[in-house]
C-alpha cells in the first residue's frame, strides 16, 4: 500500500470493448470531486518545475491550487492567460514528457494529473459559459494569421488579447487545422470541444475567413500591400504526405493517413448522411508508429476493420504518446513491431490483397539517437489485408514559400524562422509550427504561435 497522496486519482474511461465500436470520447475526465481531490495532492512548489516543462508556461501551481480551493472559474482564467486552447491541450498534450514529467510528486509516486485538471477547468468553463478575459482597447494594427490550426489560433489569441485586429485565413472549409481534420472525435470531440474553443477566438475579436488559400487565392505580399496588414504570421502546418516508394503503393486501397483521417474527421465520411465515401475495410494495416498512425488505426478499428500496426523499430521507439499506444492495445489493435513493408500485393483488379514485410533488428543508434533498424535477410512474411494506410510523416507544403519572394526555406523546404520570436527572412512576416519544424505536436505549434505573437508585438510596438 502506497503512502497517502502518492497515487493519482484515476480517471474514468469508456470500456475498451465498448469504445472500440463508437466514436465517443475515450477519456471521460474528472468530475468536481475527483478534480479537487487530485488537485490537493499538489505540493505547490515554490520553484515549480512543471512550469518549466510547459511550452506555453502556464502558471500550473496557481491553477491547480484554484481547483483545490473549489474555484475552477479562476483556474480557467489562469489557464487562459497562457493558453488559447486549454480544453484541447488538456486532452492531447504529451504531459508525461512535459509538465507531469517534471512534477516532484513523480519521483516517488504518480505525478499530479495536470492534463486532466486542465481539461476539467476548461470543460467547466465551457459548460458554464465562462469566456476568457478580453482586451477592450484596440491598438488599430492589423495582423493576418495564415492557418487556423494550433499555431495560428494560439498566435491570434495572444495578439487579440494585446489589442490587435486579427484575421485568420484558413484554406479549408472549417477552422481548426489538425484539430479538425486530423485528430479523431474519440480523442478530441469536435462540436463539444474544438468548436467552442474556436468560438472563444471570436469572443476575443479574432475574425476567421475560410476557404482562402494563401499562396493561391491571395499572397502574403497582397495581404500586406493591398489589404493593409502590418504583419503576417504563417502557421500553415505540415504538408504533403510521404510514401515509401515500394512496389504496389499505387494500388487501390492504399491511403495516406492524412487522407483517411480527413475523410473521417473533416468530411465526416463515416456518417451515412454525408456524401464523401469512406474506404470500407475488413482488415487494415497501418504503417508507422506515431500519434497519427494510432489515430488512423483506432479509426479503422471503429469502422469495423481488424487492425494491425506495422512499425520498423521496437515498442520503446514508438513515437506515439504512451497513452495512445496503451489505448490502442486495450482496444485490440495488433502491433507488428520490428518489421517493415517491402511490397504491397494487388489482386487482378489492382486492389490491395496483402502486404509483404521483412523483419528487422535494432543496430547502432543513428543521428536521431534511436537505434537504427536493420533488415534480417530472408525473413519476409505476408499479412493479408484490403487496406494499407501510410503514416510516415509529411514534407512541407510549397504553396506559401513558392509564392512569397524573400521568404527563406531550409534544405528540407521548411520555412526558416527564429524559435523565440518567429522572425523570418522577410520583414513583417513571422512563422511557426509544423511549417517551420516539420510535423510535431499540437502544443509545440501553440508554443511557436505564442512566440510568434510576442515577436509580432515587439516588431509592431517599435514601428
Amino acid at each position: 500500500m502506497a503512502a497517502p497522496g502518492m497515487e493519482r486519482v484515476p480517471v474514468r474511461e469508456q470500456d475498451p470493448l465498448v469504445r472500440a465500436k463508437n466514436f465517443d470520447e475515450v477519456c471521460l475526465g474528472y468530475n468536481a470531486e475527483e478534480a479537487t481531490e487530485e488537485a490537493k495532492r499538489c505540493l505547490n512548489c515554490k520553484n515549480a518545475q512543471c512550469v518549466t516543462g510547459c511550452p506555453v508556461h502556464i502558471d500550473i501551481p496557481k491553477f491547480v491550487k484554484e481547483i483545490a480551493d473549489g474555484d475552477p472559474e479562476a483556474a480557467f482564467q489562469t489557464l487562459s492567460a497562457s493558453s488559447s486552447l486549454p480544453a484541447v491541450c488538456g486532452r492531447v498534450c504529451p504531459q508525461e514528457t512535459q509538465c507531469e514529467g517534471k512534477c516532484i510528486r513523480g519521483i516517488k509516486g504518480d505525478p499530479i494529473s495536470i492534463g486532466k485538471l486542465e481539461r476539467f477547468a476548461a470543460d467547466y468553463a465551457r459548460e458554464k459559459g465562462i469566456k476568457p478575459a478580453k482586451c477592450e482597447t484596440k491598438n488599430g494594427k492589423k495582423v493576418a494569421v495564415i492557418g487556423s490550426g494550433p499555431a495560428g489560433l494560439s498566435c491570434a489569441g495572444d495578439l487579440a488579447k494585446l489589442g490587435y485586429d486579427v484575421t485568420i485565413f484558413e484554406a479549408l472549409h472549417a477552422p481548426g487545422g489538425v484539430l479538425t481534420y486530423g485528430i479523431p472525435e474519440f480523442r478530441l470531440p469536435k462540436d463539444a470541444v474544438v468548436q467552442p474553443e474556436i468560438a472563444n477566438m471570436a469572443h476575443l475579436g479574432v475574425k476567421i475567413e475560410l476557404d482562402v488559400v494563401v499562396g493561391k487565392s491571395t499572397t502574403i505580399d497582397q495581404l500586406m500591400e493591398d489589404e493593409g496588414f502590418d504583419a503576417v504570421f504563417v502557421g500553415s502546418g505540415a504538408g504533403l504526405p510521404m510514401f515509401m516508394g515500394i512496389p504496389g503503393e499505387q494500388a487501390l486501397g492504399v491511403f495516406s493517413a492524412n487522407e483517411y483521417l480527413t475523410r473521417s474527421n473533416l468530411m465526416k465520411a463515416r456518417l451515412e448522411e454525408y456524401d464523401t465515401p469512406m474506404p470500407e475495410s475488413k482488415k487494415a494495416v497501418i504503417v508507422g508508429g506515431g500519434n497519427v498512425a494510432m489515430d488512423a488505426a483506432r479509426t479503422a478499428l471503429r469502422l469495423g476493420a481488424e487492425t494491425h500496426i506495422v512499425y520498423r523499430r521496437s515498442e520503446a521507439e514508438l513515437p506515439a504518446r504512451a497513452e495512445e499506444v496503451h489505448h490502442a492495445k486495450e482496444e485490440g489493435i495488433q502491433f507488428n513491431l520490428l518489421c517493415n513493408p517491402v511490397e504491397i500485393l494487388m489482386d487482378e483488379n489492382g486492389w490491395v490483397r496483402g502486404i509483404t514485410c521483412i523483419r528487422m533488428e535494432l543496430g547502432e543508434p543513428d543521428e536521431s539517437g534511436r537505434r537504427r533498424p536493420v533488415e534480417i535477410p530472408g525473413s519476409e512474411f505476408e499479412i493479408e489485408c484490403d487496406t494499407v494506410i501510410m503514416s510516415l510523416g509529411t514534407s512541407p507544403n510549397p504553396l506559401i514559400a513558392s509564392t512569397t519572394p524573400g521568404l527563406d526555406v531550409n534544405r528540407k523546404k521548411c520555412i526558416v524562422a527564429e524559435e523565440a520570436t518567429g522572425v523570418t527572412s522577410k520583414e513583417g512576416v513571422f512563422a511557426g509550427g509544423d511549417a517551420v519544424t516539420g510535423a510535431a505536436t499540437v502544443i509545440l505549434a501553440m508554443e511557436a504561435g505564442r512566440n510568434g505573437a510576442a515577436g509580432i508585438h515587439e516588431y509592431l510596438s517599435k514601428k
Partner: protein, 295 residues
Amino acid sequence: MFQIVEAAKVCEKTYHFKVEAPRIARSCEPGQFVVVRLDEVGERFPLTIADYDRESGTIDLVVQIVGASSARMCELKTGDALMDVIGPLGNPSDFVTEPIEEVKKVRKLFIAGGNGTAPVYPQVRWYKEHGLECDVIIGAKNKDFIFWEEKMKAVATNLYVTTDDGSYGRNGMVTKVLEDLIAEGKEYDSVVAIGPMIMMKFVCLTTKKYDIPTIVSMNPIMIDGTGMCGACRLLVGGEVKFACVDGPEFDGHLVDFDQAMKRTVQYKTQEGRALLKYQEGDTHHGGCGNCGGDE
C-alpha cells in the same frame, strides 16, 4: 457562401454556372481549378475554371453529371449558392509564365474531349488576348454533347469540331482529326489535350508517334486540393506527383494513364450507390448490388 449568378444547361448532362468568387476571379489563370462543396453534407470535388471575369468578380464552372455530387450541383439554379469554392488551385498553364516571345514561336494545338472544352477555353482565350494564334479541336460522342462552339470559334484561329458518330462536324475521334490535320500539312510543335482520361491517353499515344510534346490536365480524386491528403497522387515518369500542387498539367508522354484510370474507380461502387440513392430516393428498390432489393 458563393452566389450563383447564372445557371444554364449547355448540352446533354452538362451545366454552366457563373459564380461570385472575387478573390479567385482576381488571381486565377488558365489551367487552374477550384474545389467545390455544395453544402454541409457535400463532398469536396475539383472543377477546372472554365472562364473568369476579374471586373465582375465571377468565375465560370462547367459540370457534367457523373455521380451524386455533380447531379446535385446540376439541379442548382440562378440565385442559389455553393457553400464553399476554394481556389484557384494548381499551377497555371506553362505558357502563362513563360516569356511571350518563346510562346509565340510554338505552333499550338488544343484538343478538347467532351467536357474538356471548358478547361481548354480560358487557355485559348488567353492566346487570343495576347495576340497569339492557335488551333482547336473539339470532340464529343455525338452532337448532343457539343457546347461552347461559338464561344470557342470567337477566340481560336481555326476550330475543328468532330463527333465520334459523325452526327455533327467531322466524323471520328479527336485522334483521327489530329492525324488528318497533320496529313493535310498542318504542323504543330505542342499539343494540349484535356478531356476524359482515355481520350488523353490516346492523344498522347498519337502525338508520341509524331514526336509532338503534349500537355494533359489531370483531374483525379481529390479532397483538400492544397497538398495535404495525397489522394490525387499519380505516377509521372515513374515518380509520385500530386495533381493538386505539382499539376494539374503534366507531360502527357510521362503520365501513367492506366494506373491513373484504375485509381478513379476506387470509390466507383460507393459513388454509384450514392447516385442511385440520390436519384431514386425512397423509391429505390434495387440495382445497386447493396440493398438486397434484387433478391
